[in-house]
Subunit: 264 residues, 2 copies
Amino acid sequence: MIWCNGELYDQGPIPLDPADRGLLLGDGVFETIAVFHGRPFRLVQHLEALEDAAAALGFALPRATVERAVADLVAGLAGGHGALRITVTRGAGPRGLAPPAEPAPVVLATTAPWSEAMAFQPIRLATVSIRRNPTSPLSRIKSLAYLDNVLAFQAARAAGADDALMLNTEGRVASTSMANLFLLRDGRLLTPPVEDGVRPGIMRELLLACGAVEASLMPEDLAAGAVFATNSLRLLQPVTAIDGRASAPVPAEVIARLRAACGL
Amino acid sequence: MIWCNGELYDQGPIPLDPADRGLLLGDGVFETIAVFHGRPFRLVQHLEALEDAAAALGFALPRATVERAVADLVAGLAGGHGALRITVTRGAGPRGLAPPAEPAPVVLATTAPWSEAMAFQPIRLATVSIRRNPTSPLSRIKSLAYLDNVLAFQAARAAGADDALMLNTEGRVASTSMANLFLLRDGRLLTPPVEDGVRPGIMRELLLACGAVEASLMPEDLAAGAVFATNSLRLLQPVTAIDGRASAPVPAEVIARLRAACGL
């Protein structure tokens, strides 16, 4: 189902201003939210992330509109599971890079099927040459300028892996193309800090609240323990190999605890 | 005027698939072309740049469609000047980062007024904290993931300047948020190499063909001569100050020669 600026559509197309800066410049933000049993998981945190991301770009999130989109789409799921994506562009602007003084953001939200088969799937990672750039605020938010992640994902697939191991420009571990990374070593759960070019994803925040700690990691550190990736739809993905070398298995109780936290 | 997938529109909106990857992920490319006296300047070079950019993302540019868009829009300019922007997205795709196996690219092209008053305007630069990332192919093409440039531009404006001086992640000079940079020193014209995170713009290529040479530059090098920026619509912009320090004037004959090369 599609929700765009207050209208519901069974299918596309949607009407879009050809001067929309989301389309022309990647000038916008998004969030992807799992709906479990008809309830958006960690909705408040996702909306705050969206609000923070818009603020980083210099515009105010039309929060009431976004909340209406979520409510309308979740109602359409009728108590079932779903994957909700909320896209907010800065709206139309004059030619060039300068944003309009009074932006009129566009809200586009869609739902797609979600089932537990999408989650907890093991993945193999391949290190890619595209690095995350901590000097850019975009390394810390989900913006529509997501193409580096697409290219990193494509490169990992071309290398026979399922996702990319992305380092930052200083050579430290950052994330996959779509998920935060965790290392379980000697009973401690470590994840790279935001300053290393990492987006503070909602699942990552949940694990930090449960005792995980931030620590810069070098690629070779990942050989010292079990590694997994977290993402709002795929939840927890055990990493089984990095660049063809097998990784230690992720303990079953870690997965069981996250499943329980999601109410699944 | 607006051209989208074969249809002409006086004004928006245009119909767009809500799964369009250009809108959702910045997954697409663009070029901006000046039309002088009804003739697109360096059209072949711009189309080749667009083709190379699409190839860098892994899809084939629908070149015949793009050429039709250009012809239709240029006809509408009736021999006058104009600014033509061609946007090509990878088209719609399934949920997630993986591109569709057989993309159906979307071509959106628009014209806007152009007058010589837009060109040859002096600019002041401010160094910004966002750096260009040479590990990403996106540093070398015009992709729809253009948001770093928007943020760099905003930061420069907030600092009281007209545009940003962007360094790369290694601290070398790259470009402004929208233009290539040249240093005229001891009679030699120098511009940073593509490897330093620079897009090979069409005006830059023209100056390289006329004897400019590629050389990595450190920010302090820019104090040693006259500095200017080149861009397909603004043509040549003399830099009058960098971070509040006055720059040497750009010789009038440099500007006169570029104006002549454009047939203006």
